[in-house]
Amino acid sequence: MATDDVWVLGISMTKFGKHPDKDMVDLASEAVLGALADGGVTMADMGVVAAGSLMAANAGMGQQVQKQLGQTGVPVYNVANACATGATALRVAMLAIKAGETDMGLAFGVEKLSGAGLLSGGTRKDDSGVYAPSGRYGAVAPVDGRIGTDIMPGVFAQIGMEYGHRHGGTSFELFARISEKNHAHSTLNPLAAYSKKMTLEEIMGDFMVAYPNTRPMCSANCDGAAAAVLVSGAKLATLSLEQRRRAVKVSASVLTSDPWEEACQVLPDVNTLTRNAATLAYEQAGVGPDDLDLVELHDCFATAELVHYDNLMLCEPGGAVDFFNSGATWRDGSMPVNVSGGLESKGHPIGATGIANVWEVATHLRGEAGPRQIEGAKVGLTHVIGLGSACGVHILEKSAA
């Protein structure tokens, strides 16, 4: 193991779902204690703590968890980066290790979203007072719903539809079939918020949120946390054979933002920054899409999963529809995608998501995924995207030890 590599030594996630009796500190602590135990280390070994939470971005979650598990005085970074918050926390801990400031670090992400409805879009009251232009568009009244939509299911619906306009082949049924796949996958994941198989008819007949996304085609708001202990290659070489055997190599860690493109300030462009992140990640890891045994990508909506097949270069350019229709992304296909159930059924506690997907891939690489194990998995990729935008891609490899 090269000394400048960074490895996942321990990793854990809570069950995603409703946790009315646990607060965010409880959930985060459960994940952190799980990750520490999994890695055979303690808080005293952590030289840095990176804590991710979007809705509690100003709550100092890192220090709150330290106050329950161990106030060791090490630097804490509380991070928020839209739906890439967890991946960003992971990267912050990694950067501290890469910079040589420490040889071991902790990253965690946590969110409580059960019962939350739409996370965007403005409430509108009757207009009153006297109209006066305000804001960057000189608006005299709320524009959500009057000039397009701010709600995420609608934004990502358009992103999928735009792909269909460019390349053809999309339909309400096609997008629903993607959701059918992820809900089928979730039946094997005991940590998923929802693990019920859904038929195509049930999915298409469910409550319509923003055409073509019905409710089961949207990521599930839920509670959850995930945590990872990262270690330098040099330090890992001094640890036990068992720790080395179960360690998972972070072959690539990339974070991008969206470069300017025509239309990107009109409808968010989630494509270019994902493609850029994937290109860099494949370069860093020295692997290509064909080397991947499984992928956990950001299916915040069924319409989003389709475009990321293309953005992550899992298929030919423009070929995402044919690629999906070939069955490739089912768990028994050539490129299993979201075998955890994805955000649509596993759930999307935002801050935790970018670490939970690393947990999923790492668990397969360790051969510890039980009934949903992808046999012989050696290399996997995780992807998250937060609107605004931020994209995190990690490529993970099984230990040779």
Binding site: L118, G121, G122, T123, R124, K125, D127, S128, G129, V130, Y131, P133, R136, Y137, G138, A139, V140, A141, V143, D144, G145, R146, I147, G148, T149, I151, P153, G154, V155, A157, Q158, I159, M161, E162, G164, H165, F172, F207, M208, V209, A210, Y211, P212, N213, W260, E262, A263, Q265, V266, L267
Partner: protein
């Protein structure tokens, strides 16, 4: 006739309602908001340009569930107006997938979206199907 005010400052009212963008004098990037500098090239010179009022629907969604107070369903879309992308609702068309389609040819139109305490009407814009 009541006083009128555009819903947003990049909508120009009058006999020939249209949208106007800030165009970067260096690279040609177009923006509808108040600018500090250009997101494409970083320079800060802008000029106003009129946006064509006809275009093609490149993406749409039919929003059935929105924040409290926002009437549903409505059709939100991205319209390509001769190379400049515009965010807008599609109006004067039933909000169902049988009537709205990708690639549809549309044109800009305006409508009253509200009235304030002094009787001033806020005028919004949307795109409606171009007659065949």
């Amino acid at each position: 006739m009541a006083e009128q005010i555009p819903l947003v400052d990049y909508l120009v009212l009058g006999n020939d309602p249209h949208l106007v963008a800030n165009e970067c004098t260096s690279c040609g990037a177009r923006f509808f908001d108040r600018r500090n500098a250009c997101a494409s090239c970083g320079r800060s010179g802008f000029t106003k340009v009129d946006i064509p009022t006809e275009g093609e629907v490149r993406a749409f969604t039919i929003v059935a569930f929105a924040a409290p107070g926002v009437p549903t369903p409505y059709v939100a879309a991205m319209v390509d107006c001769a190379g400049t992308s515009v965010r807008a609702n599609l109006i004067n068309i039933p909000a169902d997938p049988e009537h709205v389609s990708l690639g549809m040819q549309v044109r800009l139109t305006t409508e009253v979206v509200g009235t304030d305490d002094e009787g001033t009407e806020a005028i919004g814009f949307g795109f409606e199907p171009k007659e065949a």
